[in-house]
């Protein structure tokens, strides 16, 4: 197919695909899924942090957390807009999320149980997210790549703030140190899972790489994350919960244990510790908000017809 060939050549040459350009149906569908899931993750990702906003220990921490959650909602908005350029509406995507057809990042199905988790989420979860997202700034689809540029800038800010919380906790009282260690214990493997299972043998994955929707292999990014994070844990005086973790001189990388992939697939199947809570919260928000959306729509209609009548 010459159209497809031209499309691929443009990508290979480092060109961007824009909304009005021709694109293969698979490319479009994969992008919608990927951007949509990413957007959903930003939205659902507000919940584990929102869980501590009302209990933030100082005014400054409360403000930082509010700003972060506001950014996340903003990221969701950019991403839904990016997805809309591919011909799918925000409402459609939302409905697919709410009925469980579309997913969001599995990490948000884990609970936040202490204030140290606000640190761990910033440090580890945002850290892993950035690792995933930085290469996507060079993804082939223009609107997506541009959204990523904005998002990455803010995310790295969040990560630094998370690390700062973690540092305060790790250097705090005995109880605070215990919370910090416990947070690392609980979030370490779920963070590793954020890169997805090994995709060495996946054909799917090869196609996405060629389309520059996916830029690196999952294992590659996971390794990079471990290599970056372990020295930070050392710096904090915390112990990564992996007895096989060891620096490998030959490879120039850390050796580490795989996460429990059975758990990962359970979470994916909707059996994460908070999966039901998250879906319940989002569904309730949507249902409770129906009258607001309808009311505002009715008002807009009235205004429009009044304006028409006045012409």
């Amino acid at each position: 197919d010459p159209q497809e060939r031209a499309f691929q050549e443009r990508i290979d040459a480092g060109g961007k695909i824009e909304p009005r350009d021709w694109m293969p149906e698979g490319y479009r569908r994969t992008l919608i899924r990927q951007i949509g899931q990413h957007a959903h993750s930003e939205i659902v990702g507000q919940l584990p942090e929102g869980n501590w906003i009302t209990r933030a220990p100082t005014l400054e921490r409360k403000a930082i957390l509010l700003a972060k959650v506001q950014d996340e909602a903003g990221h969701g908005l950019y991403l839904y807009c990016a997805a809309e350029t591919l011909g799918v509406s925000r409402d459609e995507l939302t409905r697919d999320l709410l009925c469980g057809k579309m997913k969001y990042s599995s990490i948000f199905n884990y609970p936040t149980l202490t204030w140290a988790d606000m640190g761990a989420v910033g440090w580890l979860v945002d850290g892993a997210a950035i690792m995933n997202q930085v290469p996507l700034q060079r993804t082939s689809y223009g609107p997506y790549a541009r959204a990523m540029v904005r998002i990455c800038k803010e995310e790295s800010f969040h990560q630094r703030q998370g690390f700062d919380v973690m540092m305060k906790m790790a250097n705090g009282t005995k109880e605070q140190r215990a919370m910090a260690q416990d947070a690392l214990d609980r979030f370490w493997y779920p963070s590793l899972m954020m890169f997805g299972p090994s995709d060495e043998n996946s054909v799917h994955s090869a196609q996405n790489m060629a389309w520059k929707i996916k830029m690196n292999s999952n294992d590659e990014l996971r390794q990079k994350f471990v290599d970056q994070t372990v020295p930070q844990a050392d710096f904090l005086g915390l112990t990564v919960p992996d007895e096989h973790l060891k620096w490998n001189e030959d490879r120039g990388h850390y050796d580490f244990s795989e996460p429990d992939w059975d758990e990962f697939f359970e979470v994916l199947a909707g059996n994460g510790p908070c999966s039901a809570d998250r879906m319940e919260a989002r569904n309730k928000a949507w249902d409770d908000g129906a009258w607001v959306r309808e009311g505002l729509m009715a008002h807009a209609e009235k205004k429009k017809s009044r304006a028409l009548a006045a012409e």
């Binding site: 939205i43 209990r55 005014l59 700003a67 839904y80 409770d288 008002h299």
Partner: protein, 240 residues
Amino acid sequence: MGDNTLVLGHRVSEWCGVAPVLEEDIALANTALDLIGQTTLWLNLAGEVEGAGRDADALAFRRDVKDFRNLLLVEQPNGDFGRTIMRQFLFDAWHQACLSALCESEHEGIAAIAEKSLKEVTYHLERASDTVIGLGDGSDESHARMQAALDRLWPYTGEMFTSDDVDQAMASAGIAPDPASLRPVFDERVTAVMTRATLTLPESDFAHKGGKTGKRHSEHLGHLLTQMQWLQRAYPDATW
């Protein structure tokens, strides 16, 4: 002022992640953020004036119900989104009038905070007005809910304009406006918005009191504090 913004900021932040539309998630978080920022300024100033070495965090997280001096309005629970946005509008309308007057305060610190806050609050008021109008003059259901919200919250507005000896002293000294003097601006704004929102102001001017003086808060504030102050109370020796 600091207790008002603290308590309302907390209430608004309870919406985190569960607003009716994404744009509202952002707007509510932004409002809460502004209010918490203002809280820090006001309570730090209050701590300085007190001179007992308490900073904004000490005042926010280590006082019990009786020592709070916020309007009863801001401690009322969120209810549905309509009640939340109506509460916001009624507060903003007063808050803007109050801050405008405080910009003229003889006390420099107060005038400076008021000036900074006024910009934010003017935006809040614009936004809340639009939403109240949109929902009031929206569908039958949204109209009914907004009218119910107004009826429910109206008795908490009167407290804004009552004054005690402290208020009178502050007014005489040119530090703060006489609360009653803010009523005309408030009434004008509220009437204009309610007209466009096709909502009817309640006839009764009965007013609940006791929040501003701390004499009798509602039962809701205590529950709010159990959450807000939990970490500071459970781990008094920690820094965060």
